[in-house]
């Protein structure tokens, strides 16, 4: 009998030895004359268990992790091919409470299927959304996306359906769908994991967007720091074309849509949508003034749907299961699920997809299990490098767009970065300014010059040079950046700085 074994090919898993584990499993099985089928799946998102090996049994998939190549012989000795319990086993993976309690919608297939096997994709519900969309007219698709309440997952939270409708209603000889896969925020990796673990979902979502908006050409802008995601997306695009999912006759509908991958070149601000469009046009990644909005004049001046990976990847499920099912999840004006990413100094880091409204406390403590170092949690940064720092006793905030705003923070792309009590918050504030100085596109003075000044001023505060005056200066500088910046790079850099200052004043008084 052939046993199916899963070893993730996700780059987080390979970064801690999954390729060596896969090789060792094949070698050991050959040596023992055992028949196995090795599947390189995406990651289930329980990253602290990586490399997580799974074995298919009649009861379900049984997990073992973290496993190293050196452990593989012992795994075979202890009969893991039958799902037997041993020192590495974590039981049936679907029943691990950490995963079982989640509401995996966008990430439903990630880690479950073979990322490049379109048949496997279809067997797990893939293409159903696209088939539904093909049977509808453009405005009915847009209505469905509007009704789902889906908002942009890239940071700004703008309703996806409104953008799509604008593009649909604008006539032009050429329209585009541009997927923002620049994922520059520290503490975020969901776009990467989706592209590596379930690339057809993104392709399907983009194709639905294209049909709805009347666009025939899609581009995915992937950051160069993601070589594996780039390779997987390119391979998936080839398969999708061969299967007839893309091309001049999408799934036999007579509609045209195709996608290419473009690669960034190490610039954070190129994640800002207009800078991304400039970069896609081959130019410097300078932020454009809005209006005109990209939906009217985007890539090469043509109407363009710009959406984040997770936004687009949520669409197939919405189309397949109906807007109502998606809309039923969430809180207030934040509908559906958010793919939270638990990162930094955290005991159980990874992907937690839950309906909006879960508390930060639950994410950090219940799911995250506190710090990896075992020391007390001191601070949590939510929403990337432009997001606020929360103190350990201030984690009772609900994770949705509006509640976070009210608490002085922002959701961003859903990253949650935990720090233990060894963190120096004055250094974190300094880093925020330094990052802005390095990554500013240079268009506005408050951002370009203000951030350089910000670093100097924080250094003076840290070194106790005219501290009171310089703290005052820092506050003024932050006001200036907030008010005088064209985009959120300069406009939101004050958020981590001021939240650190407000919540951890003692670190600026040493």
């Amino acid at each position: 009998m052939t046993t199916t074994i899963y070893v993730p090919i996700d780059s987080a898993a390979t970064s801690v030895g999954a390729n060596a584990v896969a090789k060792a499993i094949v070698a050991e099985a050959t040596k023992r004359n055992l028949e196995i089928k090795l599947v390189r799946n995406g990651s289930r998102g329980l990253l602290w268990l990586e490399p997580l090996v799974e074995v298919e049994t009649v009861e379900g998939r049984v997990g073992y992790g973290p496993v190293t190549a050196a452990d593989v012989a012992a795994l075979f000795d202890s009969d893991f091919l039958t799902g037997a319990a041993n020192a590495y086993s974590v039981g049936l993976v679907d029943e691990i409470p950490w995963l079982a309690d989640q509401q995996r919608v966008t990430f439903a297939r990630v880690g479950v299927i073979d990322p490049l096997d379109i048949k496997d994709y279809e067997a797990h519900g893939g293409l159903a959304g696209l088939r539904t969309a093909i049977a509808l007219d453009q405005s009915a698709i847009v209505e469905e996306v509007l009704a789902s309440g889906l908002r942009g997952r890239g940071g700004a939270g703008f309703p996806a359906g409104i953008k799509w409708r604008t593009v649909m209603e604008t006539s032009a000889d050429q329209k585009y769908v541009c997927c923002n896969a620049d994922e520059g925020d520290s503490g975020t990796f969901a776009d990467r994991m989706l592209m590596e673990g379930d690339p057809f979902t993104l392709i399907e979502g983009m194709t639905i967007a294209g049909i709805a908006g009347g666009a025939t050409k899609g581009l995915i802008y992937i950051r160069s720091e993601y070589p594996d995601a780039i390779a997987t997306m390119n391979a998936a695009l080839l398969n999708a074309r061969e299967y007839g999912m893309l091309g001049t006759d999408v799934l036999g509908s007579g509609k045209t849509f195709d996608i290419s991958v473009r690669v960034g070149a190490g610039s954070y601000v190129c994640g800002e949508e207009t800078a991304m469009l400039e970069s896609l046009e081959g130019k410097r990644g300078m932020v454009r003034a809005k209006p005109p909005i990209p939906a009217l004049q985007g890539l090469f001046g043509k109407p363009t749907i710009v959406n984040n990976v997770l936004t687009l990847a949520s669409v197939p499920m919405i189309m397949a299961q109906g807007a109502a099912a998606y809309q039923a999840l969430g809180s207030d004006r934040s509908r559906g699920t958010q793919v939270f990413q638990l990162a930094g100094n955290i005991a159980r880091g990874g992907i937690v997809e839950r309906a909006f409204g879960i508390s930060l406390q639950e994410l950090v403590q219940t799911y995250g299990g506190g710090t990896r170092s075992g020391r007390p949690v001191r601070s949590v940064q939510v929403g990337g490098p432009l997001g606020a720092y929360f103190p350990a006793d201030g984690l009772e905030v609900a994770m949705d767009y509006e509640a976070l705003l009210a608490a002085g923070g922002m959701l961003g792309h859903g990253g949650v970065v935990v720090f233990d009590d060894s963190v120096d918050m004055a250094q974190q504030a300094r880093f925020a300014m330094e990052f802005c100085a390095k990554e500013s596109c240079g268009k506005c003075t408050p951002c370009r010059v203000g951030s350089v000044r910000g670093v100097e001023v924080i250094d003076k505060v840290i070194n106790n040079i005219d501290r009171t005056e310089n703290l005052e200066l820092l506050n003024d500088l932050c006001d200036l950046m907030t008010d005088g910046s064209l985009c959120a790079m300069g406009g939101l850099t004050p958020m981590p700085v001021l939240s650190a200052l407000r919540q951890f004043p003692e670190d600026f008084q040493k």
Binding site: V16, W48, V423, F435
Partner: protein, 159 residues
Amino acid sequence: MAYAVAPWSLDAGQAVLELLPTDERIILPALQAVQHGFGYVPKEAVALIANSLNVSVADVHGVLTYYHELRTTAPAPITVAICVAEACQATGARELVAHVGANLAPVGGRSDDGQVDVVEVFCLGNCALGPAALINERLVGRLTPKSLESALADTRAAL
């Protein structure tokens, strides 16, 4: 993250540019193709690209200097890009950079034996398993000074 695969010549550069698909005959993809092919963007390539795309040298130069990753000098055979962003800071990236600085090369520098360039990056999407680095195109995680050294040794051995 590129490493040299072919020696530069004008003819070779021209050949690389001719391979660009029509919709990628624009500045950034052209520069990336050259860097991918030769490991860096030689001075001569700027004029070549400008000519080939029918744009000004100043435009090409503007794009070349804008992007952190585009380089104008040949890289070492190995580039180690260490993540210095927040989630990795929380798990010891600063200490890792200090160790590498003391034992190999500082950020922006090259090792004494000329084999390794050290650069910093802001996030590699491995933020739950930090500290992280990219060694050429291989992502490594849960790094300690020791495990980074052994990963580098593997890469050197494979050169």
